[in-house]
């Protein structure tokens, strides 16, 4: 006998074994396809989830950089005159355009356990929203003694801001970066700049670029 004859003799095995392989391999193949579809679907779903959550995660990470353990008391102000009482005389926030005719809401992030602001130097960050008439609301974020440069902030946040939209200009001796990006309420225009060692971010969903430039110019002059 030789291998060739053996291969021919194998041809005559019981029909049951021939059919067993054909039918079971079809079933196994179908199961394999289903499993692959399931695996790829899961991977695709995870990918979509990651992409959808990316802006949220970036915001959380960026916020976490400021909200360290020693800055977890928030003192709120709902009136600009009240806020002015605690702001230093040279604060840029005193120059917010037309603020007397607007409603404000401010959050001052202070060290843990702070009851009242006695020394403004202890304030780490301010979040401020200024609501004007005609549904225009401008948001300010000011981080005091911030080491991060505005340019770095704008360019590192490529997922939040369209890289091609970043524009740089100098207003009243301050280098200002403008960028367009997306936020929870749609498209926003943002201006970021370092001023006296602090970093300011100003953004608005209702402004176009020109209006934003005009607003920041008024703020810095």
């Amino acid at each position: 006998m030789n291998a060739n004859k053996l291969l021919y003799d194998i041809n005559d095995i019981d029909d049951a074994y021939v059919i067993e392989y054909a039918e079971r391999s079809e079933a196994l193949k179908a199961r394999l396809v289903r499993r692959r579809i399931r695996t790829w679907s899961t991977l695709a779903a995870c990918l979509v989830l990651i992409v959808l959550c990316m802006p949220l995660m970036i915001n959380m990470i960026q916020s976490a950089r400021f909200k360290s353990q020693d800055v977890d008391t928030v003192i709120r102000f709902e009136s600009f005159p009240e806020l002015c009482k605690v702001l230093p005389e040279d604060s840029a926030l005193l120059n917010i355009p037309d603020v007397r005719n607007a409603k404000i809401s401010a959050k001052l992030y202070c060290p843990k356990g702070t009851k009242k602001i006695e020394d403004f130097e202890t304030v780490k960050m301010i979040d401020l929203s200024v609501a004007y008439k005609k549904d225009v609301e401008v948001f300010f974020n000011c981080v005091f003694n911030e080491e991060i440069a505005a340019e770095e902030y704008v360019k590192e946040s490529e997922l939040s801001f369209f890289p091609e939209s970043v524009k740089q200009t100098v207003i009243a001796g301050t280098e200002v970066f403008f960028a367009e990006g997306t936020g929870p309420n749609g498209t926003k225009h943002l201006a970021a700049f370092n001023y006296n060692g602090d970093m300011y971010k100003i953004w608005c969903y209702q402004f176009e670029l020109e209006e934003m430039v005009t607003y920041v110019t008024a703020f810095l002059k």
């Binding site: 030789n2 053996l6 005559d12 029909d15 074994y17 067993e20 079971r24 196994l28 193949k29």
Partner: protein
């Protein structure tokens, strides 16, 4: 339909089992055109065989004809140089099972070891049988079998090696050896 000599039987057979037959033939011949010709020949042979033959399972019956015709066609086509199809690889693997082809061939050429193979196959687990039949009846590649069985390629290779050893031992015990 075959028993009524209804000519659409061939068309219906091709529709139902065409892909199955073509896969078997292509595994052996590694050539689409040759495989199609073998499958067409198989349809004709089936038409000529039924009746009087009454196969218990048309699929297996057809598969065996296709396999046989494809092996014959390959045998006729083969030059001195061996090809690289699954047939050649399976052939080389099974040569290990046969201890001395020349001397045994002279002695037991007329003996078909079909019954012994069937008996041996019945001693295997369904999974072992699937791997053996897939490789040496259907000439599926090792990676295809691994995919179908959800085994790694090395596990399939190891299983095939063990099965060849067991078959060799079984055939020798049944007197098919030097």
């Amino acid at each position: 339909m075959y028993f009524n000599r209804n000519e659409s039987a061939i068309g219906e057979t091709a529709k139902k089992y065409g892909k199955y037959c073509l896969t078997i033939s292509e595994n052996i011949l590694r050539n689409r055109e040759d495989a199609e010709e073998s499958v067409n020949d198989a349809y004709m042979q089936t038409w000529n065989s039924i009746p009087p033959v009454k196969p218990s399972n048309l699929r297996a019956f057809l598969g065996k004809i296709v396999r046989n015709l494809s092996l014959n066609r390959l045998k006729a086509q083969r030059t001195k140089k061996r090809g690289s199809g699954e047939y050649d690889l399976a052939f080389e693997e099974l040569e290990e099972v046969i201890t001395s082809p020349q001397s045994v061939e002279e002695l037991v050429e007329e003996i078909s070891c079909r019954d012994f193979i069937n008996k041996w196959l019945s001693t295997l687990t369904p999974e072992q049988r699937m791997v053996f039949v897939g490789r040496y009846w259907y000439f599926d590649s090792v990676s295809e079998i691994s995919d179908k069985m959800n085994y790694s390629v090395s596990k399939t290779k190891m299983l095939l090696l063990r099965l060849r050893g067991e078959l060799k031992e079984y055939l020798e015990n049944e007197g098919i050896h030097i």
